[in-house]
């Protein structure tokens, strides 16, 4: 039995070599996950050595010092030196374990200087992700059909490869980027866990907690909610898709445009006054930093008040907003409605009195 158990432990530690083993951690994708696996290997090795040494002694006694072999008991019952030694030596071994562990704790807890911040909100029973830097968010829900899950009356449909680990929209992050995840919850405590990243952070309603990761390779990685959260606790997976930086940028632009398109009906016909009111908000959020709230610009940034573009043909005005020029970035991330509004606002404010306006559908046409 001893042989079997220590054999199993050895198998446990040597299985670290195999990828995607059922016996071991998921293959680590971050430095922290690597550190955790190495720490675990180191501690398991020490444990196996200690286990064999200690139980080797015990099983020696069990096989040699038995009454059935006529062994006579030697009634010793204390030995101060031995007792001090077997208190001190384990304490020293523990220091050998604690030292590397403490370093990983400190690294794991350092969420400073993240490039990207995403808020993960637990709901009963799915996750919501908000890209705080990019102004969009979405919900991520299980897509495994109930016909695969519910086998009460029959075996049900054949279970797919990613049974219970597949969602409609995964969290998308760029590779080699420090991503800070803020967790919170809408109802009860959930836990956002991604074993391949060495991340697990409870999501607590009313509070924000944070964790971080920096995925080294692209791919799709899967985890599950790790705090009992009620009926469908087992049915709210976490899927992270790590993509290249370029893919990520394209994806963000698309999501931003989608989000904005979803926010405003692009076919709505606006009145001039409504467009001006909406346009002021868009201007203040996006344009005022350079062109100033009064439209007079400053330094290298030209004034809009009385500018040729803002008082010239409206097509040229829309064109420059969509494509940018020199120091001015392209604002094609704004929705059609926002662009229509801000252009109308600029043409009818700061003393500009062009008097015309443009509908979102015309902006949409101008994008092509």
């Amino acid at each position: 039995m001893r042989v079997w158990r220590s054999g199993a432990l050895l198998a446990l530690s040597s299985s670290f070599a195999c990828a995607n083993s059922k016996f071991d951690f998921q293959p680590p994708q971050t430095l922290i996950a690597h550190d955790i696996r190495d720490l675990h290997t180191w501690i398991m090795l020490m444990i196996v050595v200690i286990f064999c040494a200690v139980f080797g002694v015990m099983f020696y006694a069990i096989f040699k010092h038995r009454r059935s072999l006529g062994h006579e008991a030697k009634p010793f019952h204390e030995n101060t030196v031995v007792e001090i030694l077997w208190t001190l030596i384990p304490a020293l071994i523990l220091v050998g374990m604690a030292w590397p562990a403490a370093k990983v704790v400190l690294a794991q807890k350092d969420s400073h200087d993240a490039t990207l911040t995403i808020k993960a909100t637990g709901y009963q029973w799915f996750w919501g992700y908000d890209y705080l830097d990019s102004g969009f968010g979405y919900k991520s829900k299980l897509v495994t059909p109930r016909s695969q899950i519910e086998n009460y009356k029959s075996a049900g449909d054949a279970k797919g490869e990613h049974y219970l680990l597949e969602v409609d929209e995964p969290l998308v992050v760029p590779e080699k980027t420090k991503v800070r995840i803020l967790t919170t919850s809408n109802d009860v405590i959930h836990s956002w866990a991604m074993p391949a990243f060495g991340v697990k952070q409870d999501a607590i309603p009313g509070f924000i907690r944070d964790t971080w990761f920096r995925a080294e390779t692209t791919g799709v990685f899967r985890g599950q909610c790790s705090e009992l959260c009620g009926r469908d606790h087992g049915f709210m997976p976490i899927v992270v898709k790590v993509v290249s930086q370029a893919e990520y940028k394209a994806w963000v632009s698309k999501k931003q445009a989608d989000a904005k398109a979803a926010a405003d009906d692009p076919n709505k016909v606006w009145t001039k006054d409504d467009l001006i009111a909406r346009g002021q908000k868009v201007y203040e959020a996006n344009c005022a930093a350079c062109h100033k709230a009064d439209g007079h610009g400053g330094g290298p940034f030209p004034a809009l008040a009385g500018s040729k573009i803002a008082t010239g043909p409206i097509d040229g005005h829309v064109h420059i907003v969509l494509t940018g020029k020199g120091a001015m970035p392209a604002w094609n991330g704004l929705s059609d409605t926002e662009i229509a509004a801000v252009v109308t606002y600029e043409r009818n404010s700061f003393g500009n009195k062009v008097g015309d306006f443009i509908q979102p559908k015309d902006v949409k046409a101008a994008r092509k």
Binding site: I36, R66, H77, Y152, A155, D210, S226
Partner: protein, 556 residues
């Protein structure tokens, strides 16, 4: 002494004020001719109450075990075959609550009731009527838990840890669980007061604290732990109750509360609770191993210090249950270091047991097998505990099956195996009959094999990332779950064989038991087998006590 003796005699009985320490046992029996249900319902005798506790614990063990099999049946295959997820959550919750509060803890209290007075030479527990009450609070609490399965909304389904806000959402089953926990807590506190008073005041002449049997020591320290933390749990669940029904906001962020506060309070109770279930096991094993090694316990005094250190450290490590909650790095490091430190006194205990066996004259009757099984498997549980104490590794393991494997190694192969060992060790004293050694050994090996088949694969499941408390799982976890389910059903079946063994022994076993079948040296073996209804009405003779000390090398 006299106060306790008085408590033994029903009020108004003419013998009450006589202090008839010299009356013989036969005469004494006549005073207590309660029969039928009255003997048990009005029980004030520590042996009767101990028996009640032990049967209650076994009943709850079977009920909680049946629930475990319900869990394992659902997890045999991926997909939902038997239960709705809500009911699955009720099963895991009740399994935990029933096993912890209904099976393991009452079993140890029952053993303390039966054995402590016999082992320290006292006539009974200090407060005999309170003893009756502390037992009879248990069945109503158990009924509340079981009835809660049938109320609208079903039983509590928030896990045995009852974390809010989930536990605030639950139906009235949660209130049943809260009241049950109140009752169980009151019972535990009274049981503990009884143990402390008995051990501190009613020892045989010449038996100083550092000459008590180790089981008395661990029971004493456990009782102190319970008195310290049972009110903490009661406070936590009372706050839950008022949050649920009376508009308080202890655990609701919207009203200025904090759900994590509950976790701090719960685990301030919960970690000492782990040792409440482990320390008495250490005591039992420290009685059994010297007996079957035919040697005194190695390092008696260091054993006492190790037990005390574990008890004190257990109050400083609760944060390790909450590494995933999000604590500052300093707190993570503090709780990690303190938790690792517990390995030192625990290691001392294991080394002491092995040193006790070293150069002994070992024999392997069933109690010894269970004690050795305990040492091996409890150590495995200790090692996985050490792995879990490393905060970064715990990030991967928190709330996975690794944790399930860890605490079942500690509680099943730890606490439960020690209880089996204790039952086989003391059955001859309780029943006056010897159990069948063949049957006992079969029970041991069967339990040993299937326990490992059930719980060892869970380490792998946890490493690979399977969360606990889920009714269905991704396909890569199928193999080990199926193995664990087969193991669980076989393990469960083996416990019916244990019941058969016990009943067989009560009905005569393989023959009458001598007073001291194991040639052990503690005082319980100085009274006849079966132990008479009343024992040590006059304190044991000091010479007899000292003879035992000499044999245990506590005195020269």
């Amino acid at each position: 002494m006299s106060a306790a003796t008085e408590a033994l005699h029903p009020a108004g009985h003419p013998a009450d004020h006589g202090h008839e320490h010299d009356h013989d046992h036969a005469h004494d029996h006549a005073h207590h001719a309660q029969t039928g249900w009255r003997r048990w319902f009005y029980a004030t005798n520590h042996k009767d109450i101990g028996t009640l506790y032990l049967w209650f614990a076994f009943t709850m063990f079977i009920i909680g075990g049946t629930m475990a099999l319900g869990i394992r049946a659902e997890l045999f295959h991926p997909g939902l075959q038997f239960w709705q997820p809500e009911f699955f959550n009720q099963l895991t919750t009740l399994h935990g609550v029933i096993m912890v509060f209904g099976a393991i803890m009452p079993a140890f209290t029952g053993l303390a009731n039966w054995m402590l007075p016999l082992m320290i030479g006292a006539p009974d527990m200090a407060f005999a009527r309170m003893n009756n009450w502390s037992f009879w609070l248990l069945p109503p609490a158990a009924l509340l838990l079981i009835i809660s399965l049938f109320v609208p909304g079903g039983a509590a389904a928030g896990g045995w840890t009852l974390y809010p806000p989930l536990s605030i959402q639950g139906g009235m089953g949660m209130d049943f669980a809260i009241f049950a926990i109140h009752l169980l807590g009151i019972s535990s506190i009274m049981g503990s007061i009884n143990i402390v008073t008995t051990v501190l005041n009613m020892r045989a002449p010449g038996m100083t604290l550092l000459k008590m049997p180790m089981f008395a020591w661990t029971s004493l320290i456990t009782a102190y732990l319970l008195i310290a933390v049972a009110p903490v749990l009661a406070g936590a669940v009372t706050m839950l109750l008022t949050d649920r029904h009376f508009g308080t906001h202890f655990f609701k962020a919207a009203g200025g509360g904090d759900p994590v506060l509950f976790q701090h309070i719960f685990w301030f109770f919960g970690h000492p609770e782990v040792y409440i279930m482990a320390l008495p096991a250490f005591g039992i094993v420290s009685q059994i191993i010297p007996t079957f090694s035919r040697k005194p316990l190695f390092g008696y005094v260091s054993m006492v210090y190790a037990t005390s250190s574990i008890a004190i450290l257990s109050f400083m490590v609760w944060g390790h249950h909450m590494f995933a909650v999000g604590m500052p790095p300093t707190a993570q490091l503090f709780f990690m270091f303190m938790t690792m430190l517990i390995a030192v006194p625990t290691g001392v205990k294991v080394f002491n047991w092995i040193a006790t066996m070293w150069q002994g004259s070992l024999s392997f009757e069933t109690p010894m097998l269970f004690a050795i099984g305990f040492v091996c498997l409890f150590t495995v549980g200790g090692f996985s505990g050490l792995v879990l104490s490393i905060a970064p590794i715990d990030t991967q393991m928190q709330d996975t099956y690794y944790v399930v494997a860890h605490f079942h190694y500690v509680l099943v192969a730890g606490a439960l195996f020690s209880l089996f060992g204790a039952v086989y060790y003391w059955l001859p004293k309780w029943t006056g009959h010897m159990y069948s050694e063949r049957a006992g050994k079969f029970h041991f090996w069967w339990s040993m094999v299937w326990f490992n088949v059930t719980f060892f694969p869970m380490h792998f499941l946890g490493l690979a990332g399977m969360p606990r408390r889920i009714p269905d799982y991704p396909l890569q976890f199928t193999d080990f779950n199926s193995v664990a389910s087969v193991g669980a059903f076989c393990f469960g079946l083996g416990q019916l064989f244990f019941l058969y063994n016990v009943i067989h022994t009560i009905r005569g076993g393989v023959g009458p038991a001598p007073a001291n079948p194991w040639e052990a040296h503690t005082l319980e073996w100085e009274v006849p087998s079966p132990a008479p209804h009343h024992t040590w009405e006059t304190p044991p003779d000091e010479a007899l006590v000292r003879k035992g000390f000499a044999a245990q090398a506590l005195e020269h």
